[in-house]
């Protein structure tokens, strides 16, 4: 009986933590012409593989600080890379002169402030922070 209880507890925890992970959304400025993006395109923008949105307009990704919960959730769900893999990836880009990590800000409120004012920027933040100056283009 104890074991069954433990099992259900584990399952419940699994789902709780999973839904807790989907707290972030990917956003652009409300003035942007971009309406929706798929996961692969967002990953390509944040990994510096492309610097344009599908409509040809320049895209500038904004990261949250490494080690923040939002950073880990975003990369776990969208680029699907761990911290070590991201480090290795950016080291490849930097030491071969092919690219540099994106601009980084310290939290979701900073992301909101920047993106609201810049139609070319794209970022991610906690769902609860979304207001009418920005719009959600992808919800993991």
């Amino acid at each position: 009986m104890k074991q069954i209880k433990a099992f259900f507890l584990a399952v419940t925890l699994l789902f709780t933590s999973y839904s807790a992970q989907a707290e972030i959304v990917v956003v652009v400025s409300a003035q942007s012409t971009v309406e929706h993006l798929d996961k692969n395109k967002i990953a390509a923008i944040f990994l510096g593989k492309t610097d344009t949105f599908p409509n040809g307009i320049q895209s500038v990704p904004i990261e949250q600080a490494e080690g923040t919960k939002a950073y880990e959730e975003f990369h776990h769900l969208v680029t699907e890379k761990s911290m070590s893999q991201l480090n290795a990836y950016w080291s490849k880009m930097v030491f071969s002169g092919k690219g540099h990590p994106s601009k980084e800000v310290s939290n979701g409120a900073e992301v909101l402030k920047l993106i609201a004012a810049n139609p070319s920027m794209i970022g991610y933040l906690e769902k609860s922070l979304v207001d009418d100056k920005i719009k959600v283009v992808f919800a993991p």
Binding site: T50, D51, E80, S96
Partner: protein, 422 residues
């Protein structure tokens, strides 16, 4: 005192790796990478080296374990002027052909964005000859202790003075990289019997093409150059052959020009593929080198590697092979008396080349901190002679003793390395 200095060194490395690059302000950024490594070889009759034309000694005859095979440190200074123009310089300190650890400038270029998807770089750059050329020395970004020796010894031109274009268009879900390059270089290297020489590669002309779709990347490369190797060994050999030619031995005349490494065409063609879904990876490359001189053999080399990531632990397996496609002995001159000398000299030039070798590697990478990776690797290296011809069994080893060069060998290596980036 010595111990105190060593402690301080380790301490400063640990402090600096906790930082993500060093922003020096005014657009300057300092980044670095490095490896500290030990290799132990089971065979004392030759030295295992990471690259047989660039490293004079390693683990084996020169002692065990060896610190000099994998240990290196690199520093890169970037200066961003604006969104279109930037400069980068990278210095790398590792064991060179003359045993010196004096840093060498590997990159020093100006990069300019011509169009949103097109960059041009001018200065000292690494020609993109292999799939991993750009970061061959940054061991942290690669899964293994060192890139497979057999494949990455095939075209050891690490940098050149020149220009390249990086064009990165996207079609649908496929990201392309089209990278043509042109340049010249002059570098020190080891010629037969471990003698220091100089290599000039003129008119290096090449292209690097890659296409990425989701977790999959396909890559094609071609590079050609006009090669000149300045080495006493080769100039003595061609002088002797030319001398015999003057006595009327026509074969010697032909062999003198075939052995000469002055201004000879050489090219390297390669294909590679990489699949990496985050949890598992498979990658491999296949290359073919052809040249117009006996001094540098035609070569076929390849490797295949796979691994799985279990959180911080990444076990991997690699098989790599190097095959010398050129003859390694010559007996075609039948002129009485002189012919025998021509045959011996030609054979000596041919045997100055790297010989057949393959390696099976098993290793584990442990990502115990975000910027540090600890790796352990076992390599089983096998060298073999060409149809039992004496002198053709030394594989890619340095300082082979006669016993080693005359037969096939089985060598086991154990390596431990600590890689870092900041």
């Amino acid at each position: 005192m010595k111990i105190n200095h060593a402690n301080f060194f380790v301490f400063s490395i640990l402090v600096s790796v906790n930082a993500q690059a060093i922003d020096l302000g005014y657009g300057f950024t300092l980044k670095g990478f490095g490896t500290g490594g030990l290799v132990n070889s089971s065979n004392d009759n030759a030295d295992f080296v990471a690259n047989s034309v660039l490293q004079p000694n390693g683990a084996g005859t020169s002692g065990n374990p060896s610190l000099v095979v994998d240990t290196k440190i690199g520093l890169q200074l970037d200066y961003k002027v604006n969104d279109r123009l930037s400069f980068a310089a990278q210095g790398l300190s590792k064991q060179q052909y003359n045993k010196s650890f004096v840093p060498v400038l590997e990159w020093a270029y100006a990069k300019f964005k011509l169009m949103p998807e097109l960059d041009i770089r001018v200065g000292r750059i690494r020609p993109a000859i292999y799939m991993l050329s750009d970061y061959l020395d940054v061991n942290y970004v690669n899964p293994w202790v060192r890139p497979p020796t057999e494949f990455y010894s095939s075209a050891p031109i690490s940098h050149m003075e020149g220009v390249d274009f990086l064009w990165r268009p996207t079609t649908g879900d496929i990201s392309w990289l089209v990278q043509p390059y042109y340049g010249v270089t002059e570098l020190g290297l080891l010629t037969p019997q471990g003698v220091a020489g100089q290599l000039n590669a003129d008119h290096i002309l090449g292209i690097n093409l890659s296409a990425s779709y989701s977790d999959f990347t396909l890559r094609f490369g071609y590079a050609q150059t006009e090669l000149t190797i300045h080495s006493d060994k080769f100039s003595q050999a061609t002088a002797l052959l030319n001398g015999i030619c003057n006595y009327g031995d026509q074969t010697a005349c032909y062999q003198a020009s075939a052995a000469s490494p002055l201004g000879k065409h050489a090219d390297f063609l390669s294909v590679g593929a990489n699949w990496d879904n985050g949890d598992y990876f498979v990658l491999g490359e296949y290359g073919k080198r052809t040249t117009k001189t006996y001094a540098v053999a035609d070569v076929t080399s390849w490797y295949l590697s796979s691994g799985a990531r279990f959180k911080k632990i990444t076990p991997y397996i690699t098989y790599s092979a190097f095959h010398n496609d050129s003859p390694v002995a010559y007996g075609g001159d039948t002129t009485p008396g002189l012919g025998n000398i021509v045959n011996q000299i030609t054979t000596a030039v041919m045997q100055g080349n790297s010989m057949d070798q393959n390696t099976l590697s098993l290793g584990v990478r442990y990502d115990f901190m975000p910027n540090l990776a600890l790796k352990g690797q076992w390599d089983h290296v096998q060298t073999s002679t060409k149809s039992g011809i004496p002198g053709s069994g030394s594989g890619l080893f340095a300082i082979p003793q006669p016993d080693f060069a005359n037969g096939g060998n089985q060598v086991d290596l154990f390596s431990v390395t600590l890689d870092f980036v900041f």
